[in-house]
């Protein structure tokens, strides 16, 4: 019956894609905002240029995948739960893995679509040249970054109604982006704020991305990506546990 689950997964993916494509008003902002911000910060604003385009390539890539992850899962799941759709799904033999897997796949698809224009702008606009392996590794990391954000989205989606989920998702999204140093490097922040920053997965993921492209460090310190990876793994395990609890709470 494994093939049944796999087949169901393909159908779920198709359904999720159609749903997303038929509601462009939801998906377009999450696709266009990152590239718009990247163009603004890396090209248009004063102080852009120099080595910033490389720095922002790493951080805005994380920013780009956050939108589809947090909103797709947080708001999407909360909405389907509100409508009772999730109950029908859970009563049906729909494999949970196919449902979640399809949502993750679609998130990855839209994360990719958000990344591509940024990569193109960085490569052909800012003249950033990286070996194929580094581009591929960066893409891999950016796509992998959806995982903690999806978990955050799931926690929000399972815990809150759709209205609450929209509000909280926005707050989480903005905090992750701004405080995580995705828009501007955190060394520009006051010390207290920097301490908060390093507790955010967005910051830790951005540091890994910066290490991959070997972007110049704004301060004297060297990057130690192995530490960032460890922190991200721990954060992910923690978030996964929370998401599981939020899901288990559904059935009482």
């Amino acid at each position: 019956m494994k093939s049944l689950a796999l087949n169901a997964f393909f159908y779920e993916c198709g359904a999720e894609i159609l749903k997303a494509v038929r509601a462009p008003e939801y998906i377009l902002p999450t696709l266009l905002m990152p590239i718009a911000f990247y163009l603004l910060f890396a090209f248009a604003l004063p102080g852009a240029g120099d080595n910033n385009a490389l720095y922002f390539l790493a951080t805005y890539g994380i920013f780009a995948v956050m939108g589809p992850s947090i909103f797709g899962f947080g708001v999407g799941v909360a909405n389907e739960r509100d409508r009772g759709w999730l109950s029908i799904k859970r009563a049906s033999p729909a494999p949970a893995i196919a449902y979640l897997g399809a949502k993750i796949t679609v998130t990855l698809i839209f994360a990719s679509l958000a990344l591509i224009p940024i990569y193109l702008a960085a490569g052909f606009g800012a003249g950033i040249a990286l070996p194929h392996s580094v581009w591929a590794l960066l893409l891999g990391l950016h796509l992998m970054s959806v995982i903690p954000f999806i978990l955050i989205g799931l926690i929000v989606g399972f815990s809150l109604g759709s209205n609450g989920a929209v509000a909280i998702s926005n707050i989480v999204f903005l905090a992750m982006a701004a405080l995580g140093g995705l828009w501007l490097p955190i060394f520009l922040f006051p010390d207290a704020l920097q301490k908060i920053s390093i507790t955010l997965p967005s910051y830790q993921l951005a540091e890994i991305a910066l290490a991959i492209v070997d972007a110049p460090t704004p301060t004297d310190s060297l990057r130690v990506p192995s530490e960032n990876i460890t922190v991200v793994v721990i954060m992910t395990i923690f978030l996964a546990s929370l998401a599981y609890l939020a899901w288990a709470r559904q059935r009482n």
Binding site: A15, G49, S112, I116, G127, I128, H132, T217
Partner: protein, 606 residues
């Protein structure tokens, strides 16, 4: 239906991602850029020798920098690489080094494109000037040299296996300097260490005469000193620069004022001073992951070696403080490593010198200048040490900003010499102990000179005197050729050895080795034989190998006034690593006294 939607979407997306990754710009392929010495570097931070120019580009044509700027137009078809996140530095200049063997290649592996030698065998100066004029593809840095140094017999500089034309009186100064210029020396280095109980030195009059003779004949004169007093006397005598910082006392206001006024420069060589003062900086450098991959085993050994004893009046802290004070007053500070002294090595140690200059209080920018533009200016070397139009395309690119974090100078991305990229490969086989066999079994017949057989002499093997002064002893050895060797034919090697107390196991004798101590395999031989006569007594034969950390394997034998043949089984040299033979010595000692002995027909037997 739904699954087809998915398959179509996912396969188009994967194809799209593949295409994007494939077509995104990549750093231009290395061989594309460097198969010729014309190319462009775009969007890189350029340290021009004094300051950083952000987001600049540069064009190299036929090994010469032809354009530098922010908005330059890069001609179509020229290979280009992007330098975002990187800094371009002029090729580094090591202002104090001693060059032999692999030194120039080892230097270039770490971005040192110009080496200012402060004492080497004149043999090394051959072709030096031609080579540094040319723009051909090379794996070695370019050399400027003092040739041999000015010292008295038995003074500092005579302890090495290089024959030194010594100087004792002021009258000889003019001729001595002329001889150096004839040999090709670019400048004159003298050793001035008066009032030293252990080492003989030029006196002030002779030293002053050398300075004057140098200036008269149009060359710069620099001095090796170790004390403030000696430095002050050299300053008074009109010296052009000091090749060490003095570390016995804090620098005086008078000295500073006079140094600024006279425009002298100082090469502090903090790296070697740290090593003498037991700071273990060499071991730290050898362990640095940015360094260790590019070092040969021999270099690593050199770095972890200590001077053994901590010498008086070598205070690293005073050295750093004096350096900072002179820098703050405006005295040009030049970075020099004094490699390959114990605790230092060619190339890598210059980066450590910059780091120590920063530790002393210089800014990273000033430390970079000390290894680039400042020495080029001090020694009047044109077209090097700075990035500007017309300069030789000698430069390195490093990842990150060494102008903020000096340790970034070791994060080397590319090394460009004469417009060609240098491969940072260390010599093949330098790590494993597979050495080539010794070129000839005939170590010496001494029929016309003291050189070994032709095959070995061409490889740089020599016979030299060796004594315990290298271990702070007082014994002395002198070797020379005499006529009428064993069996009354040809000649022989005469050893004049004075065994004096000072070192625990005093020795003096004759030493066969290559000047760079390169190893050879002598596995094929079962014994070594030679003929010997001389002052009766007990003598010692020693075998030297690489990586020795203990007393070398040795055998003793008796000598009388009559020639006799000594044959020593190789097996009896207990613990000998015959696959990495470095040298062979026949010495007198440890009994004190005068020993004169003659050696002939030294042969390895199969």
């Amino acid at each position: 239906m739904l699954n087809r939607v998915f398959f179509i979407t996912i396969s188009s997306l994967i194809a799209l991602l593949g295409l994007v990754i494939f077509f995104l710009p990549t750093p231009t392929q290395e061989n594309e850029v460097f198969s010729n010495n014309s190319f462009a570097v775009e969007n890189i931070s350029i340290f021009d020798g004094y300051k950083v120019l952000k987001n600049h580009s540069l064009i190299v044509e036929d090994g010469i920098i032809t354009q530098v700027g922010k908005q330059i137009i890069i001609p179509k078809g020229i290979s280009t690489f992007h330098g975002i996140g990187k800094t371009l530095l002029p090729g580094l200049i090591d202002s104090h080094t001693h060059v032999y063997g692999e030194a120039l290649r080892a230097s270039l592996r770490f971005g040192v494109t110009t080496s200012l030698d402060m004492f080497t065998s004149p043999a090394m100066l051959k072709n030096m000037k031609d080579k540094r004029q040319s723009l051909t593809n090379t794996s070695a840095s370019d050399l400027w040299s003092a040739g041999i140094l000015a010292t008295v017999p038995g003074g500092h500089g005579t302890q090495f296996p290089v024959s030194v034309e010594t100087i004792t009186t002021a009258d000889e100064a003019h001729t001595w300097v002329a001889n150096r210029i004839a040999e090709g020396s670019d400048y004159i280095k003298l050793v001035y260490m008066p009032n030293n109980n252990y080492i003989k030195s030029l006196d002030l009059i002779t030293a002053s005469a050398i300075i004057k003779a140098g200036h008269d004949q149009g060359v710069m004169v620099v001095a090796h000193i170790s004390t403030l007093k000696a430095a002050q006397e050299m300053l008074d005598a009109g010296i052009d620069g000091l090749v060490h910082i003095f570390t016995d006392k804090p620098v005086t206001e008078r000295f500073i004022a006079q140094a600024v006024k006279d425009g002298i420069f100082v090469i502090p060589t903090l790296t070697v001073i740290a090593a003498v003062d037991g700071q273990k900086t060499g071991a730290a450098l050898a362990a640095n992951p940015q360094v260790t991959a590019y070092l040969t085993t021999l270099q690593k050994q050199g770095l972890v070696t200590n001077f053994g004893t901590s010498w008086p009046s070598f205070d690293f802290d005073i050295g750093m403080q004096n350096t900072l004070k002179l820098y703050a007053a405006g005295v040009p500070i030049l970075a020099g490593s004094d490699a390959p002294n114990p605790g230092t090595t060619h190339g890598a140690s210059l980066h450590q010198e910059m780091e120590l200059l920063v530790r002393a209080g210089l800014t990273p920018l000033a430390a970079l200048s000390a290894a680039t533009a400042v020495p080029a200016q001090a020694f009047g070397i044109k077209g090097r040490g700075s990035i500007k139009v017309g300069a030789r395309a000698d430069f390195i690119t490093v990842v990150g900003r060494p102008d903020v974090d000096i340790s970034r100078s070791l994060f080397i991305d590319k090394i460009i010499k004469n417009g060609y990229e240098v491969k940072r490969e260390k010599p093949e086989g330098s790590d494993n102990m597979v050495h080539q066999p010794l070129e000839s079994s005939l170590l010496g017949t001494f029929d016309t000179d003291i050189l070994p057989s032709t095959d070995l002499a061409e490889q740089g093997f020599t016979w030299e005197g060796t004594d315990d002064r290298m271990a702070n002893g007082n014994s002395e050895a002198r070797v020379y050729q005499i006529e009428n060797g064993a069996d009354e034919t040809g000649g022989a090697l005469r050893v004049h050895a004075k065994i004096k107390s000072g070192f625990l196991f005093p020795w003096a004798g004759a030493y066969f080795a290559r000047t760079d101590q390169a190893a050879r395999n002598i596995d094929a031989y079962k014994a070594i034989s030679f003929q010997i006569r001389g002052t009766p007594g007990k003598y010692t034969a020693l075998m030297f190998t690489t990586g020795m950390a203990r007393i070398p394997p040795a055998q003793t034998f008796n000598v009388s006034h009559d020639w006799k043949t000594i044959t020593l089984d190789m097996e009896a040299f207990s613990g000998l690593k015959s696959e990495s033979f470095v040298g062979f010595a026949i010495t007198a000692g440890p009994a004190l006294g005068l020993f004169d002995y003659d050696i002939d027909n030294v042969i390895f037997r199969e």
